[in-house]
Assembly symmetry: C2
Homo-oligomer: 594 residues x 2
């Protein structure tokens, strides 16, 4: 089957005089999750991991993927002509190296003009020279027969009582960032940016409450390109009252071409597709890049207003209640000798979450990882491979969307008796998480300055984790957002009050276990004095932290104080929503340690 | 007198059709200290602070300086036509703003082509446009009648038993960094780079053991431009045996012009003067920038070899012995009611240092600052203004060059009874200093990732210090060196074993006191395991840390453990060199705290 598909694609290449095509994993909006319609890389290769790039030439087929997917890819590529290239493994060329070693005179490489950003296109052109890199239309339209349909679920208006700011005000603030005289058209590719700006939500992809939309922002209006059937007439009028005008999704490209000549076109080079960029600028029209890191709207969106912060707080109470039931369920099950599986647990937490009328959906693919599975930071249990839980370390990383906010929480617990190494690692992770939670820092501090407060504790155990300590979190929007981060790597964006991020140091012991503790933290103004302005963090998450795994001799007084205060708060906030038995359980779990 | 000097300079400007001249504070080598010969800014303005820039136009005279020098500058400019512009104070234009507001058609600005780097010249040209920025020769040659002579003290060969690596080997490693086929000429402007590469030392400026030299590095030889009379014939032969050939200092510019056409010229844009850059490239010769941060030699020099590290260790033992005598002297004096002054103390520590035959000189201008003076991070006592020491906080920051290494140590102590605020601040500074001393971090870590380990403790007290936590330290070379640093600001240079830097968190309470504790720390490899390679620091400094100022309730066990271990080591390393009375004193000062 795969070989027939490859044949079809090769016919397309030959017909168009192309030597090779690069098939990426994204859609035209460059978001984290994509619809089945866009899963061309999966269709052509049979590999269904979330990350990977395929190159098909006239006589070879190769998949590049990262270490998370080596085993899965090997299995799924078996029997096909596909060769697997392991990213960052010595002896495995990069896409560019591999392609360059095959160059012959006048060879062309095709890339879908909608699936590569302008900046990516430019850097490919440079790194693949002397190849000619040609922007092509989606070839799978021709060759993929039973291609799934695009999905357009209902687009709903996000209530101002949750959003806290109306589009008119957001629009005004965006205009002042754009800061240009005269008429302009600011191009928005990212669905989450349009959703935030227009106060709309959808359900067109998994886990992200987003409609598939583009928008064009002008001084006095916003044109929103979407499936018109997904919006009720009454909502259309409401949107128009905010100067948001709706057009069919497919008219977007034409609309770019139709922008009046004297308008200044503005877009982020990382976000606008190469195809749209050239559409926009083809008659030598005035163009200017949005050079802010992540783009203007992402920068506005990252700073939550008071209503959004309150929504986060409410969401975390609801979520905490579900977590308490979940953690109690695990304890009850394992202590009674009941056999449970990873997948079953994931369903269980979702079930408890669903008890709240405000629950919408999970905010990412659930991670319930037992024992050695926990050592894979992005492990997701599937019905086929779910592991039975017995004695050992269990890591759960799950998040939810509630109508007024988003959560993302990791808790690690031990079934049976932990080893000294496990206690030691767990306590280091906890120290790191608490250090960052307690940080006070001057205005102007970047996340990279704070990363080592958490990471350093794990390094003190001569271990490391290879991911960041914190990512930005959207407000009933994608759980991973920019522009700020708390990582080793330099990121020039400074933390400001209103930014929400995760705080998730970890330890992974290959083949044995993974430990991660994750709360969400909100940056706030702490104090202004003669030295300047200081910020700190409010912890949003209310879920008990397993104290059985702690080696108390490794905690300082300040850590114990923080943990005891935290647990007091967890009990205070959650107990009103629990029955007596649950309250008793939570009381025990949140008892102060000494 | 100043007005006559200004008149002379204005005559020069008129004669040359120049509207304004910018007079900076540096010499042609861009080092930290300059000879009197180059103090033109001081001569023309009367202001003798270390930092400041003068602009003289046909009808105005202005000095820009920073907050350290506001009072001094006001005093020294009094009675002259000079206006003072306070850098970073609202209402004070920058040099560029001030000049631009005076632009008239065809106005030219002159800058000495030897005193501005190529990069500085370029950015001035851009920021001062539409002015024409003209590179001129030193105008003070004509107008400064009794100008001091240039000083050329003896240049001596630095013994391989201290340097640990001969020039042949350094030259080879430099060539491999330059990494170019064919012939090249690498231009070295910085005296410390030439001194390191050629294993020579001098004494042509204060505090830096440097001769004033340029060099040109080729594949098979190094041309060193210096005062030939400063080198003995026997040393000349020794240098020639290392393929270092000596030429008169003044022939350097001509030598740049004489480089064969087919040679690739290489220099750092921050280090080569604009004049030399244009000399080097005037016939369209091949040129390439050294784009490494700080330059190739600075990068090689920053990583100390084993002999250099041992030299640092020895220096710190000798220095520790002098510090013990110094600290005991303070205690004896103050407890017996003797009146002592800041300047007297500085002399006293130098006197104790001189007891070692290996002592050469101070490594920077001594800082002995009592009470409110300590709140000025760069305060230096002078005979005129030295303060008498009574009850209060005393900060001493002094460093020395020994023949085999360099020191830089700060200790803070309290005479009389400290306040709670002082104890609290002192303990925060100590915690920060210890946190950084104990850090373990993965290979690839930048100094900016570690800065907050120290700074964060002071922020927890809602205070900050405005300087970096650590600077690189030269090996019997300038005490401040790059390319690494431990600061809030991003610096892409990663820390590697062999780098020596300071560890000096601080608190400054305006009008009251300053607290700083400073050790030097050496980056070392700690462990290699399945997670990778980890580094840590060895503390080089051996000077007791005042425990009277500590609020022990604010120290964790790990801090106490570190401090007690440290003090045990201080006693162990220093006591063999002390008399019985000093040993007893040190034993008490280094007693373990609980």
């Amino acid at each position: 089957m795969i070989s027939q598909r490859i044949d079809l694609l090769r016919k397309y290449l030959k017909k168009n005089g192309i030597y090779a095509i690069i098939v990426p994993s994204n859609d035209p909006h460059f978001g984290e999750y994509i619809q089945d319609y866009y899963k061309c890389r999966e269709w052509i290769s049979g590999f269904d991991g979330s990350a990977g790039t395929v190159v098909i030439t006239l006589d070879e087929a190769v998949l590049w993927t990262d270490s998370r997917y080596f085993i899965q890819a090997e299995n799924q590529l078996k029997g096909s002509e596909f060769i697997l290239k392991k990213i960052k493994v010595p002896g495995n060329e990069t896409i560019e190296e591999w392609l360059l070693s095959r160059y012959a005179n006048d060879y062309k490489i095709g890339i879908d003009s909608a699936l590569f950003s302008f900046n990516d296109y430019n850097s490919l052109k440079e790194s693949l020279s002397p190849y000619k890199v040609e922007l092509i239309d989606d070839p799978f339209v021709e060759i993929w027969d039973d291609r799934p349909k695009k999905i357009s679920k209902k687009i709903s208006i996000y209530d101002i009582k949750y959003a806290g700011e109306d589009t008119t005000s957001k629009h005004k603030r965006l205009i002042s960032l754009i800061n240009t005289e005269g008429e302009f058209a600011y191009i928005v590719t990212s669905c989450e940016e349009s959703a935030w700006l227009c106060n709309i939500r959808g359900a067109d992809v998994d886990y992200n409450p987003l409609p598939m939309v583009f928008s064009i922002v002008e001084k006095d209006k916003i044109s929103l390109f979407c499936n018109l059937d997904s919006v009720t007439d009454s909502d259309k009028s409401t949107l128009e009252s905010m100067n948001i005008y709706l057009f069919e999704y497919d008219l977007f490209k034409q609309a770019l071409a139709d922008i009046p000549a004297h308008y200044l076109r503005i877009a982020s080079g990382d976000k606008i597709s190469a195809g749209n960029y050239f559409e926009l600028t083809k008659d030598g029209s005035k163009f200017s890049f949005d050079k802010s890191r992540g783009g203007y709207i992402t920068n506005l969106k990252a700073v939550k207003n008071g209503i959004e912060c309150d929504g986060f707080r409410r969401s975390h109470i609801l979520d905490g209640v579900a977590w308490v039931k979940y953690l109690k369920f695990i304890e009850d099950s394992t202590s009674s000798g009941k056999i449970i599986k990873e997948t079953e647990l994931a369903h269980k937490l979702i079930e408890f979450r669903k008890e709240s009328e405000y629950y919408i959906d999970e905010s990412f693919e659930p991670i319930v990882a037992f024992g050695a599975n926990g050592a894979m930071p992005h492990y997701s249990p599937s019905e086929r491979f779910s592991v039975i839980i017995k004695d050992g370390i269990l890591l759960t990383d799950m998040g939810a969307h509630y109508i007024f906010g988003t959560t993302d929480t990791t808790r690690t617990l031990c079934i049976g008796e932990p080893t000294d190494e496990q206690r030691n690692d767990y306590t280091a992770v906890l120290r790191g998480m608490i250090n960052l939670s307690m940080a006070q820092f001057p205005k102007g501090t970047r996340g990279s300055s704070l990363d080592f407060l958490a990471r350093g504790e794990i390094c003190s155990n001569e271990k490391i984790y290879m991911h960041g300590t914190g990512h930005g979190v959207g407000h009933y929007l994608p759980v991973h957002e920019g522009p700020q981060s708390i990582r080793m790597e330099e990121n020039p964006v400074v933390l400001v009050p209103g930014m929400v991020q995760s705080n998730e140091p970890a330890v992974y012991v290959q083949g044995k276990y993974g430990i991660r503790i994750e709360n969400l933290i909100l940056c706030k103004e702490h104090i202004v004095n003669e030295y300047g302005t200081f910020y700190n963090f409010e912890t949003l998450t209310f879920v008990p932290i397993d104290t059985q795994l702690i080696d108390k001799s490794l905690l300082e007084e300040k850590h114990k104080r923080w943990l005891n205060d935290y647990h007091k708060n967890v009990y205070l906030h959650l107990s009103p929503y629990l029955n007596f038995e649950e309250q008793e359980w939570l009381m025990a779990k949140t008892a102060a340690i000494d």
